[in-house]
């Protein structure tokens, strides 16, 4: 599966969670990238880093491996007052100083209450650009739902998954996926 497929799937699932008519996160990101490209000719791509209640989520939304050619980066905080989530978006460009104008304006906006950072996030070849984070949380939460239906309370379900992961020396997400794989279809004539 190419890197573009899990990205599209993740954005589609997140768009579903928004449940807002006309809202399409993939389209919103595409428009943003298009506008940044309009302001910065050597724009290469962007990554989005978010954490919700401590659980990280990384999305390389545009550019993929092309971002390794970046000589400049611009990190803009993503902070919504009152929200449990926080993080940042990083833009990448090939030409040095490409973001100086945008950085100047971003730094003066009262809508951005945290400091913006230039050129501290240049990607290394060893960094992964694959999307991750959301798929693991999706499977873990589905597994929690399975365990709740089987009679466990949510905290107990999480503890069981964590304990199984430690016992088997595998990630919690892998425990979750193994559990989901055991679910058998209901025979015809019966309902769930």
């Amino acid at each position: 599966m190419s890197p573009a497929d899990p990205l599209a799937d993740q954005l589609a699932e997140l768009t579903d969670a928004l449940d807002e008519p006309g809202a399409d996160l993939g389209a919103i990101i595409a428009v943003l990238a298009d506008d940044v490209r309009g302001a910065v000719g050597s724009f290469l791509g962007l990554t989005i880093h978010l954490a919700v209640e401590g659980i990280p989520f990384l999305l390389t939304a545009i550019g993929g491996e092309h971002i390794y050619a970046a000589t400049t980066s611009l990190r803009i905080p993503l902070h919504v007052p009152g929200s449990p989530a926080a993080g940042h978006i990083i833009f990448y460009a090939k030409n040095a100083n490409a973001f100086s104008g945008l950085a100047h304006d971003a730094g003066r906006s009262p809508a951005l209450t945290l400091h913006i950072i230039l050129d501290q996030d240049l990607p290394q070849e060893t960094d992964s650009v694959e999307t991750n984070g959301h798929a693991d949380q999706r499977d873990i939460n589905q597994a929690i739902g399975v365990l709740i239906e089987r009679g466990q309370l949510p905290d107990q379900a999480r503890e069981q998954l964590t304990a199984d992961a430690a016992e088997n020396n595998i990630p919690v997400a892998e425990v979750a996926r193994r559990l989901l794989n055991t679910l058998a279809p209901t025979p015809p004539g019966k309902t769930g």
Binding site: E13, L14, T15, D16, A17, L18, D19, E20, L25, I28, I29, V31, D34, D35, V36, R37, G38, A39, G41, L50, V52, F57, I76, L78, H79, V80, P84, A85, I89, L102, H104, D105, A106, R108, S109, P110, A111, L112, Q137, R138, N141, Q142, A143, I144, G145, V146, L147, I148, E149, R150, G151, L153, P154, L180, L183, A184, P185, T186, T191, G192
Partner: protein, 269 residues
């Protein structure tokens, strides 16, 4: 390139009666107004919470920078279509509403062609045969429409209006174009920052909502053994049938399952 040599536009005849010292003094004053407006652009990023507020400021500075202006409107484009439209005065709102409802007018032409549009007698201007007369009946006779361009293309347009006929001359157009260059960069950067904030809010809302949806999917899969997609479609169907949000349905499913789990534990104790 401009479209100044069109019926109804001005040339330089509005200031023929000036002496040379008077012209020098006027131009010096206009240059000062332009410089002040451009300086204000570099500082405006510190005074806005919504992008519309910033755009109104930019439009206000345009009125200050261009001699003869009575009001201004500013349109940002997104994917080639007008997206955000602001005005400095009510009459500008009326005029631009007419323009966009007709799909015809100087701002639309300026954004589409990337060239400035100037007219000193809108009611008789053949370029906009439906818009022009309606603007004239509202007492607005002069317009200067300037595309807002970045190196990568047109990001919108700025409309400057005046009630007087032949209010804008070639020098006014020149001053407007000089102002439009930094204005375009300022509003485009603001648009990027605004979109970044909008993306952040939506992503965060989605990430906060998604766990309960996934738990509900797990509950349904545990009952039926179906796929995650099938379970989500059931949730979506319930959402549509009950006219509530997907997250509301999901939360209800989870709450009911937790309630049953608690009841089961209680009965076993």
């Amino acid at each position: 390139m401009t479209k100044s040599d069109q019926p109804g536009s001005d040339g330089d005849d509005s200031t023929d009666s000036e002496t040379a010292p008077q012209r020098d003094a006027r131009e010096e004053s206009e240059d000062f107004d332009l410089a002040e407006s451009v300086t204000a652009l570099s500082r405006l990023s510190s005074g806005w919470d919504r992008i519309e507020d910033l755009l109104v400021q930019v439009a206000g500075y345009a009125v200050q920078a261009i001699p003869g202006a009575d009001g201004a409107g500013l349109t940002l484009s997104e994917m080639g279509r007008p997206d955000i439209i602001v005005k400095t005065a009510d009459f500008v709102r009326e005029i631009d509403d007419i323009q966009y409802s007709l799909g015809q007018g100087p701002c639309i032409s300026a954004a589409a062609t990337g060239t400035a549009m100037r007219s000193g007698s809108l009611s008789g201007d053949p370029r906009w045969p439906r818009f022009g007369p309606r603007a004239g009946r509202l007492g607005v006779h002069s317009v200067l429409s300037l595309p807002l361009q970045t190196p990568s293309g047109v990001v919108g347009a700025m409309n400057i209006y005046a009630h007087a006929k032949h209010a804008f001359d070639s020098r006014g157009e020149e001053l407007g174009q000089m102002f439009a260059v930094p204005a375009a960069i300022a509003v485009h950067n603001a648009q990027i920052l605004d979109q970044t904030g909008r993306l952040a809010r939506k992503l965060q809302a989605a990430l906060v909502n998604r766990p309960v949806i996934d738990q509900a999917i797990g509950i349904l899969r545990s009952r039926s053994g179906g796929t995650a997609e099938e379970a989500f479609e059931r949730i979506r169907s319930m959402s549509q049938a009950q006219h509530v949000k997907v997250t509301t349905v999901a939360q209800t499913l989870v709450d009911q399952a937790v309630f049953r789990a608690r009841a089961r534990r209680t009965s076993q104790e």
